[in-house]
């Protein structure tokens, strides 16, 4: 990198295009400094800013009498009656799991649980939707074992049961496995908390683990922008600590229930910056923050690292004015360190100070309003040909028994017992329908007769061949799974795992799949209350001529659906009792 290169020339190192860099300059009213550019880059990334996917979400139905909180918060919330509500959301940890399956999957569980308890809900169920390549290869075995170990390590230790999920195998996931985790939390309506700041003058409090250089290893910044710590010092892998998270969970819920907090937000992707500036945006206010106050795990950290670190198990709380000390005492009881790092301001700026100097001063709104891109989608001719292939000539196998055995022994269809037995699925003593007993899990709600059912579904082969119908079918399957345990479907969360949206054939899949989800959700009266997007899931496939070709994973819009049972003791499982029973086939 030449010294004479301007920031604009190296916009890409901040995750911005040159056009986006110019938009930043316009919004700020001057050229941004490197820190500001990096902050915009993070906030405008797909992960935080949804620049490619948000326009597609417009087709989703998001409201209904059952919806207490739609998309836009840490998690969606639906009413289940009797004064109770369920917060739920799904999130992916695909790329981290491909690099370090145990910690990648573990921190995925940690992240989604924080989203749930940041809403004021006590997490009470986890589901995991996993996709891997060919199970006969050492790589897939390593990934599968590691991912399951990671989920079990985190979920079991924190004491939230993992009650369901799915595991499928297909070569398209060989290099790029998918790890989607869904969590549900239970709360009383009045405890619904929001990621906002309350009023001017409120303090901003940092609680949880210290900040390290986690998650910066993969960053593309020029070394000049970071401290002189070597790359070695910038771990590409984040290690999760379920023990710390358990303390955070208990402390946060207690603080919310005691009315001590005006706002809560977890620090997820783009850590401190994204959490605080999202809160400011929702409140329509500004923030002044002192980066020097951020507790660090290592010496010599610089503003860019402090701002963008993705260290796990950290939260931002805003105390109710006048009750700061009570909150601090409560957090201390849970053995958590806490620091005031900033204050809510009248102005509408996001301002960061470092050693007395103003190092970032940009409009909150611009940070949260990433440019949106709509592209042109074109169906791949290859896939269309596959779909339209005439199958009428395929002979019916003679030995159907053998076919059945072959099908049953495919890892996608075979029993998942060795996996779900590694998850504590009964802690909290609410699990009425356990994994393996039905296609959806059922939890009772203590203090009420109600039950909550949840499932996650997607058939990526179907979506690959026909993204619209396949995605709609995933919603329909989820609804059937809930109906089969006796639950009425309420709403969905989704996790859109796709390839590179710049490729027209991938963009086509995205457009079709989101439309399919939207139409199915309208038909079934299950609004979308939130979700997550994971793009750029692709891999390089070696070709016969020695070259490589970039291939996307099968498009995988995982659907997580939640339903309610009016009386949890009236539920159904797949088990056939021993006495004579009749089987009926419904539908056509």
């Amino acid at each position: 990198m030449s010294a004479t290169q301007s920031l604009r020339d190296r916009a890409a190192t901040f995750g911005l295009t040159v056009e986006e860099f110019d938009l930043v300059t316009q919004a700020v009213g001057r050229e941004p400094n490197a820190l500001e550019a990096a902050i915009f880059g993070a906030m405008w990334s797909e992960h935080c800013g949804y620049k490619n996917s948000r326009p597609l979400f417009r087709v989703f139905p998001t409201t209904g009498p059952q919806v207490l909180q739609g998309p836009g918060e840490n998690a969606g919330v639906v009413d289940i009656g009797d004064g109770y509500a369920v917060a739920f959301k799904m999130e992916s940890h695909n790329h981290p799991s491909a690099v370090e399956p145990v910690q990648g999957a573990a921190t995925g569980v940690g992240g989604i649980l924080r989203d749930i308890f940041a809403m004021g809900a006590r997490p009470f169920a986890v589901l995991d939707s996993l996709r891997f390549g060919d199970l006969s290869t050492p790589r897939t075995q390593h990934l599968l074992t590691g991912v399951v170990e990671g989920i079990s390590h985190y979920g079991n230790a924190i004491g939230v049961p993992t009650v369901g999920g799915e595991v499928t195998f297909h070569p398209s996931y060989q290099e790029n496995p998918l790890v989607n985790v869904m969590a549900l939390g239970l709360m009383h309506h009045e405890d619904l908390a929001k990621g906002t700041l309350g009023a001017v003058g409120n303090k901003i409090v940092y609680v949880g683990s210290k900040t390290g250089r986690d998650g910066l290893g993969g960053a593309v910044f020029a070394s000049a922008d970071l401290s002189d710590a070597s790359n070695e010092d910038r771990p590409a892998v984040q290690v999760g600590d379920p023990f710390m998270e358990k303390l955070l969970l208990e402390a946060t819920l207690e603080a919310i229930q005691k009315g001590l907090v005006a706002g809560v937000q977890d620090m997820g992707a783009a850590g401190l910056v994204s959490s605080t500036c999202e809160m400011a945006y929702r409140a329509g206010l500004g923030i002044d923050m002192d980066l020097g106050a951020v507790p660090t795990r290592e010496d010599g950290m610089v503003p860019m690292e402090l701002c963008l670190s993705e260290s796990q198990e950290r939260m931002v709380l805003v105390p109710v004015p006048g009750r700061e000390q009570e909150l601090i005492d409560l957090l201390a009881k849970w053995e958590l360190d806490v620091v005031v790092i900033g204050e809510v301001k009248e102005h509408d700026r996001y301002r960061l100070f470092w050693r007395g100097e103003l190092v970032c001063d940009v409009p909150v709104a611009a940070l949260n309003e990433a440019p949106k891109y709509t592209r042109e989608g074109v169906e791949s001719a290859e896939i269309r040909a596959l779909r339209e292939r005439d199958l009428s000539g395929v002979p019916v196998p003679e030995d159907l028994g053998a076919v059945l055995v072959k099908l049953m022994s495919h890892p996608t269809i075979a029993s998942k017992r060795p996996i779900f037995e590694r998850y504590d699925h009964q802690v909290m003593t609410n699990t009425v329908v356990v994994p393996g007993a039905a296609d959806a899990a059922v939890m009772r709600v203590k203090g009420s007769r109600k039950g909550v059912a949840a499932t996650s579904d997607c058939n990526p082969r179907f979506v690959y061949l026909d993204p619209y119908t396949g995605a709609a079918a995933a919603v329909a399957e989820a609804a059937r799974n809930l109906a089969c345990v006796g639950a009425t479907p309420l709403a969905i969360t989704d996790n859109l795992n796709f390839g590179n949206p710049h490729r027209p054939e991938v963009y086509y899949q995205l457009v079709q799949a989101t439309q399919g989800i939207a139409d199915a959700c309208r038909a079934l009266n299950t609004p979308v209350t939130g979700g997550n997007v994971s793009l750029y899931n692709q891999y390089n496939e070696a070709q016969a001529d020695g070259s490589t070709r970039t291939v996307a994973i099968h498009p995988t819009p995982t659907i997580g659906m939640v339903g309610v049972l009016p009386d949890v003791s009236i539920n159904a499982t797949m088990a056939l009792d021993s006495h004579p029973q009749s089987l009926y086939l419904l539908g056509n």
């Binding site: 230790a157 924190i158 004491g159 356990v434």
Partner: protein
Amino acid sequence: MKTAVIQFPGSNCDADAVYVAGELLGQQAKLVWHTETSLEGVDAVLIPGGFSYGDHLRSGAIAARSPIMHEVRRFAERGGPVVGICNGFQILTEAGLLPGALTRNDSLHFLCHDVHLRVERTDTIFTSAYRQGQVLRLPIAHNEGNYYADEETLARLRGEGRVLFRYVTPGGEVERAANPNGSQNNIAGILNERGNVLGMMPHPERAAEALLGGTDGRGLFESLLAAVVR
């Protein structure tokens, strides 16, 4: 019966224990935070499952050294009933209130499924509601439930009738195949010398309601209640 459920940072079956000992049994049960130093007015102590201190170092090791354990020891010395379930069992062995140690499951995996247990004695304050030799179905959920003690200790446990529960087949046979974790002698639960401290890996509190698929664990709490009230 007033039950104290000890709560350590990282305990996660604490609320479940309070629910069974309190709500289901219609008795009083309260959480006692690990830094507290009194068990005044308590009839029974329950050390619940979970991952106290993240199970760091060794499961139960750090919790066993926290302030409240001093009080639990005194309570046990006075003859008060103490039950440690899962992580609670690990804490009791680490604290020296029960002999032996719980090591990693021989499969090296965390396991969550139902097992069958045989009640080896019914003349204890924990098992009077069961039949001698009764086979119970209870869930396990642990990573380190592989009971280990040296030969001498094992011989004493056997000789003094201090093995209270063994892993068995559904038919009640002690077999290797019925042992989920490699425990010596298929041990699932043991008593201290005096018979007032019990440690067990399976979770009776998860099998105390028909709605959750079983009620075999309820007898343990009922036995305790009967003993305390008497």
